[in-house]
């Protein structure tokens, strides 16, 4: 007799959009059918139970308790450890990681620092006017995509929350105006009503010019274009922004990680603040990893700071550029690393990633990746949203609870981190 079980409203944790309408049919602990998934999500579910890690110490297979003990020993004996990753684990795992950082006097940083971190730093400077995705879907009549390409990176975002979504007051695509700002004509830009092609790295100049116009001041440029955009076109855009009843800007790493870095987002957030004198205008970062928004929320709630936190003095200190993983590794300032649900060997600059080879590195991850290849200790874990439960935060900071629908032999991230913490605390 077959034992087919159907699960509805499962949350996919691949990207920050966290679609919570996935339907899964399970038979003998195997996924048989998937509905409402995007192309990326489908692959994630289909290969979830493949390429699983096993407990390993220095390339030799070991048992779970031994790897946990070894990890605790490394962190305890380290003078200045680094805990990095966190964006693909649950809020419970992140909370335990902050406690572990405090117990081991570590630096703790999330992948936010190489992603939307600059946007968060800008938020600390001016604040951000924002809303939930539901409100944007229901009301926004003007949507701007700035340096973001959700059609390829968050495939269901346009259908569920933005361009093509069916809202309460804004029913369909024809009731919304879409403007895309990018350096190349991305698939998102192709779906837009207007595409504004920017000179790479010049977003700041254009945003400042728009701020000037929105504030009713004269734009005196010696040239007839700013950031590759004609002054007449900039004036038209400014008028459109002023006339919007409910505008929204979705921004990606094309804004946060180029040119003036956090000052880009500072300029954009200041523009939004100014635009609220005319109509309602909100802003939303297009968060990449499933729970990267949660990593900032959990860290802020636990330590007061969103990322780049140092615990070597037992109280939290915050300084991006000093306590961020890239800087700590590239400056060779840490003597051990604990990577939680991330793949820095594949994503960080070479100089930073190469240093992971030199120091004792612990990796907690359900799957093999480039970082597990150079790790000294590998701790396997359950997969969040598939074999493990927990809480994750959507890009608009709405928390969603995850359910597990498959069985796993390994405990989840939260438990592994908590067990390491207990060993250090009770040593």
């Amino acid at each position: 007799m077959t034992n087919v079980k159907e699960h509805k409203n499962i949350t996919c944790t691949f990207c920050g959009a966290l679609c919570d309408n996935i339907e899964v049919e399970v038979e003998n602990n195997q996924i048989k059918k998937l509905r409402n998934v995007c192309a990326i999500s489908r692959k994630k579910y289909e290969h979830a139970l493949e390429d699983r890690t096993v407990p390993m110490i220095n390339g030799q297979k070991s048992d779970y308790q031994s790897v946990i003990t070894k990890a605790a020993e490394i962190l305890k004996n380290s003078k200045n450890p680094l805990i990095y990753g966190l964006s693909s684990t649950t809020a419970e795992g992140q909370k335990n990681a902050v406690k572990l950082a405090e117990l081991s006097g570590a630096n703790i940083d999330s992948t936010s620092s190489v992603c939307h971190g600059p946007g968060t730093m800008a938020k600390q400077l001016v604040g951000m006017v924002t809303a939930t995705l539901g409100e944007i879907k229901n009301r926004s009549d003007l949507m701007l995509f700035w340096g973001a390409n959700p059609v390829e990176a968050h495939p269901n975002h346009s259908k569920r929350y933005s361009i093509l979504a069916e809202g309460l007051f804004k029913k369909n695509r024809s009731e919304r105006e879409i403007i895309a700002f990018d350096v190349r004509k991305t698939p998102t830009a192709k779906m837009a009503d207007h595409y504004v092609e920017l000179e790479p790295g010049k977003d700041f100049e254009l945003l400042m010019a728009l701020r000037l116009l929105i504030n009713g001041k004269e734009l005196n440029s010696e040239k007839d274009e700013i950031a590759g955009v004609k002054i007449t076109e900039i004036k038209e855009i400014a008028e459109k922004l002023k006339n919007a009843k409910y505008g929204s800007i979705f921004y990606g790493m094309g804004l946060t990680m180029t040119g003036a870095k956090y000052m880009n987002t500072w300029a954009a957030m200041s523009l939004i603040r100014d635009l609220n004198s005319y109509g309602r205008f909100v802003m939303m970062p297009m968060r990449g990893h499933g729970n990267v928004a949660g990593s900032e929320i959990t860290m802020a709630w636990q330590t007061g700071y969103p990322f780049a936190v140092n615990f070597s003095r037992a109280y939290p200190r915050y300084n991006p550029g000093e306590y961020t993983a890239v800087d700590l590794l590239a400056n060779k300032e840490v003597d051990a690393a604990f990577i939680i649900a991330s793949d820095p060997a594949a994503n960080l600059p070479h100089q930073a990633a190469a240093f992971l080879k030199e120091i004792p590195t612990i990796v907690l991850d359900p799957h093999w990746n480039l970082t597990t290849d150079l790790a000294d200790v590998i701790i396997p874990s359950a997969i969040k949203g598939i074999t493990a439960t927990g809480t994750v935060y959507r890009m608009d900071h709405v928390p969603l609870h995850l359910r597990s629908f498959l069985e796993d032999q390994w405990p989840d991230d939260a438990e592994a981190v908590s067990r390491i913490g207990e060993l250090i605390e009770n040593a």
Binding site: F204, E205, M208, L212, M263, F311, K332, D335, E358
Partner: protein, 284 residues
């Protein structure tokens, strides 16, 4: 006058080693090496001063050979590129470093003198309220800036850098003078509130972004932001007085072509107060 000389030991607890090879250095927080603290102690007490490295606490004698006698004048030899907060909040005396120095050097300095015969890291003289800093090499980012979350950067004092400086120099600076002989990175004087910055080399993009007041003087062309207005091309007499003051009071060599020449004046940032000025030397 007597001097206190500290020399960094080749073997010290901050080194990260792998198979007897040095692969890195854990940061050391050295705010306790401060003339006002050391001058009243004897040599053995100086050796017992606490230095923090990573999560551990060590003694000054673990890191340094101590010579000379207790004094307000401290000379430190060695590569201190992993030493942070040296001269932080110093209020008197002088520190001379023969070698590179790490982050937060002389941050929140109140008075005194710091000279570095080498390069320094980020946040040099951040939020200082007085004193004179002279760097004979290059400096990092955020020179004279405000720490994250604070509203005011450097507020009085002078920073003189003979080499180049990084990005965000004079970020949120409130008062004082910064003189850079070499080139300067991006976003010079971003969100500056007041004060003066002289750059004798060239500046990268976005000078004065979001500045309220303050003066930036540069001897090379700058790509202006659209939020700045061109005002006038003139001979600012006050600059000659300012240059003479730098030379007389701080021994700073101002390039001769800077005197009595025509400057272009821009004001901005017009999205903020718009009372900041950028003076650009005209090669005519």
């Amino acid at each position: 006058m007597s001097k206190l000389e500290l020399t960094l030991k080749r073997e010290n607890p901050a080194l990260i080693k792998k198979a007897n090879k040095i692969i890195g250095k854990v940061p050391v927080e050295a705010q306790n090496i401060k003339p006002s603290l050391l001058k009243d102690l004897n040599i053995s007490e100086i050796g017992e001063i606490e230095l923090l490295s990573g999560k551990e606490s060590y003694l000054l004698k673990d890191f340094f050979e101590i010579e000379g006698s207790p004094s307000e004048e401290i000379i430190i030899n060695g590569d201190l590129s992993n030493f942070k907060y040296l001269g932080a909040a110093m209020e008197t005396g002088s520190i001379t470093v023969n070698g590179n120095l790490g982050m937060h050097a002389a941050s929140e300095m109140k008075a005194g003198y710091l000279e570095v015969n080498g390069n320094v890291g980020d946040w040099l003289g951040a939020e200082m309220t007085g004193g004179f800093i002279k760097i004979n090499g290059h400096a990092g980012n955020y020179v004279g800036a405000a720490f994250r979350g604070d509203t005011l950067g450097m507020n009085r004092g002078v920073i003189y850098i003979k080499g180049n400086a990084g990005n965000f120099v004079a970020n949120k600076m409130r008062r004082g003078e910064i003189i850079i002989e070499g080139d300067c990175g991006e976003l010079l004087a971003a969100q500056m509130i007041a004060g003066s910055v002289y750059v004798f080399g060239s500046c990268k993009n976005r000078v004065g972004a979001g500045m309220k007041r303050g003066t930036i003087i540069t001897l090379n062309e700058v790509e202006m932001l659209p939020t700045f207005n061109y005002n006038i091309s003139y001979f600012p007499d006050f600059l000659n007085i300012a240059y003479n003051h730098l030379k007389k009071d701080y021994g700073i060599e101002v390039p001769p072509q800077a005197y009595k020449r025509r400057y272009k004046r821009y004001t901005g940032d017009n999205t903020e107060l718009g009372k900041g000025e950028i003076l650009i030397w005209e090669n005519v």
